[in-house]
């Protein structure tokens, strides 16, 4: 029990309150105005009611009038007959070296069929045998009764091809790299990414939620600058820096530009600034290098220094799916962490069989197939430069080239005209299409893909047609 409250205490309370009321009379002017404004706002808020729209009452006659004059909308609204959905071009048969569109055969320079394995009879036979042995589907993800011996065989073959410890396959090329990156790089990690990477890698980088540092396409000086900045930042807080993982995401041969990354310098910087290299060799696997082993062979870099090489089986191998190869320690992590591996059905065995047979072909005829491809690419490059009017983007040994017109002439409209003209002369080429949310939209261009079985005459014909198209479009 405290001391009894006596009259003095009450008097003191009263004077406290009285003094408060006195100070109310001496409020600063701004405060008073502000409080009045607030009181008015509160009163307005309390009384405010969102106005409800008043429905107008209609008489019977007006209602009948509205009913009488109503016309139903046509089930199919009138549409321009030139709408692309009404003028669909129909493909027939295999999309191999030649492609049959609307009944006319034309040479195919549009699809990523570098080694012409699409339509290869040997591969098709092996795939048919696999269907007879295993059936059509694999009926499950890899972790739940979907692993078949042919998957393990393919993984082992791929690892052996690259001389790595282990390989892992995915059932869809796009989701390969898009699942791999988020499996290793998480929210507080840092990714150093080239600006010119293709869309699947961009999605993987976005899904990882990591901090992304973009450097200009193939500009090693820009990369060094970013690395030096990050290094300076790390030195201020070494404890935090030791918990951050760093990755460099590059492509071997860039799909959007056709040029090869400067790998040796990147590997040097790897040991200086301590990051891991993830290389996506979708386009360079099976096309670059003496034996088709990609950019590491081309640059003569020790492959074990690259932490992970990923690619799709959809371009040169002519199957479906994707894969990644690396050391066991690196690849094994994906078996539980990669979304595209754990939560998708596994590759149908017939496609795995096709991929194994394609690898067999690549392994046996290795000196001729890839050398021929690089040779033809060089020759095509020279021929395209001889046309003088096109800008040819891409390395000379790259079978993927980007053609565009000079400077201000380069519009999609003109390129589409060139493509249509080429189609009338039985050459199928295509414009490289991109989505609206690409990080760095490249210039419009025609993406030319060289098939290894194109003869010299066919290449000459291509260049003749391109020359004629150029004349017509710049006239």
């Amino acid at each position: 029990m405290g001391s009894p409250v006596n009259r003095d205490d009450i008097a003191r309370l009263a004077t406290d309150f009285y003094s408060l009321l006195e100070s109310f009379k001496q409020t600063p002017f701004y405060h008073l105005i502000f409080e009045i404004f607030l009181i008015l706002t509160v009163l307005w808020l309390v009384c405010f009611r969102k106005p409800r729209p008043i429905a107008k009452k209609l008489t019977e006659k007006e209602k009948q009038e509205l009913i009488d004059e109503w016309q139903p909308e046509p089930l199919v609204p009138p549409v321009d007959t030139n709408h692309p959905a009404l003028n669909v071009r129909v493909l027939d048969g295999i999309v191999g070296k030649t492609i049959e569109i609307d009944g006319r055969k034309s040479l195919n320079f549009a699809t990523f069929n570098f080694l012409n394995f699409v339509g290869n009879q040997r591969i098709a036979d092996k795939a048919i045998q696999a269907v007879q042995k295993y059936g059509v589907g694999s009926c499950g993800p890899r972790g739940f009764y979907g692993t078949i011996d042919i998957h393990l065989e393919l993984e082992e073959r791929l690892a052996r091809f690259f001389n790595f410890e282990e390989g892992i396959i995915y059932s869809y090329g796009f989701s390969t790299i898009a699942s791999i990156i988020p499996a290793y790089s998480k929210r507080n990690d840092i990714l150093f990414v080239d600006e010119g990477i293709h869309y699947a890698i961009q999605k993987g980088v976005e899904a990882s939620r990591s901090t992304v540092k973009w450097f200009r396409h193939n500009d090693i000086n820009d990369l060094e600058r970013l690395l030096a900045e990050q290094d300076k930042h790390d030195k201020k807080n070494p404890k935090k820096a030791s918990t951050i993982r760093r990755f460099l995401i590059i492509e071997g041969l860039y799909m959007n530009y056709g040029d090869i990354c400067p790998l040796p310098r990147m590997v040097e910087l790897k040991y200086k600034y301590k990051y891991r290299i993830f290389m996506d060799e979708s386009v360079s696997f099976g096309t670059i290098g003496q034996t088709g082993r990609g950019v590491t062979e081309y640059h003569n870099v020790d492959r074990q220094k690259i932490d992970l090489i990923s690619s799709t089986l959809e371009y040169s191998v002519g199957s479906i799916g994707g894969f990644a190869v690396g050391s066991s320690f690196v690849i094994d992590h994906q078996r539980l962490s990669a979304q595209g591996y754990c939560f998708s059905a596994s590759l149908p065995p017939l496609l795995a069989a096709a991929a194994i047979e394609a690898l067999n072909i690549m392994d046996e005829e290795n000196s001729l197939l890839f050398e021929t491809l690089m040779d033809k690419s060089k020759r095509l490059h020279k021929k395209l430069l001889d046309i003088k009017g096109y800008r040819v983007l891409g390395e000379d040994i790259s079978p993927l080239k980007h053609l565009s017109l000079a400077n201000s002439l380069n519009t999609i409209g003109r390129l589409e005209y060139i493509v249509e003209f080429a189609q009338t002369r039985d050459i199928t080429i295509t414009i490289a299409r991109y989505l609206n949310d690409e990080h760095h939209l490249p210039e419009p261009s025609i993406r030319l893909i060289l098939n290894v079985e194109m003869t010299d005459e066919e290449l000459e014909f291509l260049c003749t047609v391109l020359q004629e198209a150029l004349v017509k479009v710049t006239a």
């Binding site: 406290d16 003094s19 408060l20 100070s23 109310f24 001496q26 409020t27 600063p28 405060h31 502000f34 409080e35 607030l38 009181i39 706002t41 509160v42 808020l45 309390v46 405010f48 009611r49 969102k50 939620r209």
Partner: protein, 153 residues
């Protein structure tokens, strides 16, 4: 609260503040906080009121505008996951009773605090700052707005 069943509330966060007695409990809690602060010996009345408004406004800001999603497994398929508590109230309908009440409470606290601090300038600035912190994010034009991408995901 029936969550995740067919006839249940889709996101209980939208309606629990409309329940019986919640407004009164809210006001009582503010006063309980104030009495706790008053019972600390070296804090004068004016400092106690400023502290009450400050703590109330900061907690208000944090709970209504920083924390996102709902603490239940809701059956709205993650619609509310990116929305703050304030945006979830009444499923986003503006100018409802609860919203008006929650907008008025910091203002009224500001009046009381100004009165008890005898309109002192420092206290005025502190109270004004925290009142703005609590009231401005509640304006309807800020529905769904994330300034500088803070707190976006």
């Amino acid at each position: 609260m029936n969550v995740g069943i067919a006839q249940g509330e889709r996101n209980p966060n939208s309606s629990w503040l409309n329940s019986r007695g919640v407004w009164l409990t809210y006001i009582i809690l503010v006063f309980v906080l104030h009495f706790i602060l008053l019972s600390i010996p070296y804090i004068t009345t004016s400092v106690a009121w400023t502290l009450t408004t400050t703590i109330h406004n900061i907690c208000n800001y944090y709970i209504f505008h920083v924390v996102k999603g709902a603490p239940w497994e809701t059956s709205d398929q993650g619609l509310a996951r990116r929305f703050t508590f304030w945006e979830q109230i009444d499923n986003g309908i503006q100018w409802t009773g609860t919203r008006k009440f929650l907008q008025i409470v910091p203002v009224v606290l500001f009046f009381i605090a100004s009165f008890y601090t005898q309109y002192d300038k420092t206290h005025f600035i502190i109270n004004l700052a925290t009142m703005l912190l609590a009231v401005v994010p509640k304006f309807p034009i800020f529905y769904g707005v994330r300034l500088f991408d803070i707190n976006r995901y």
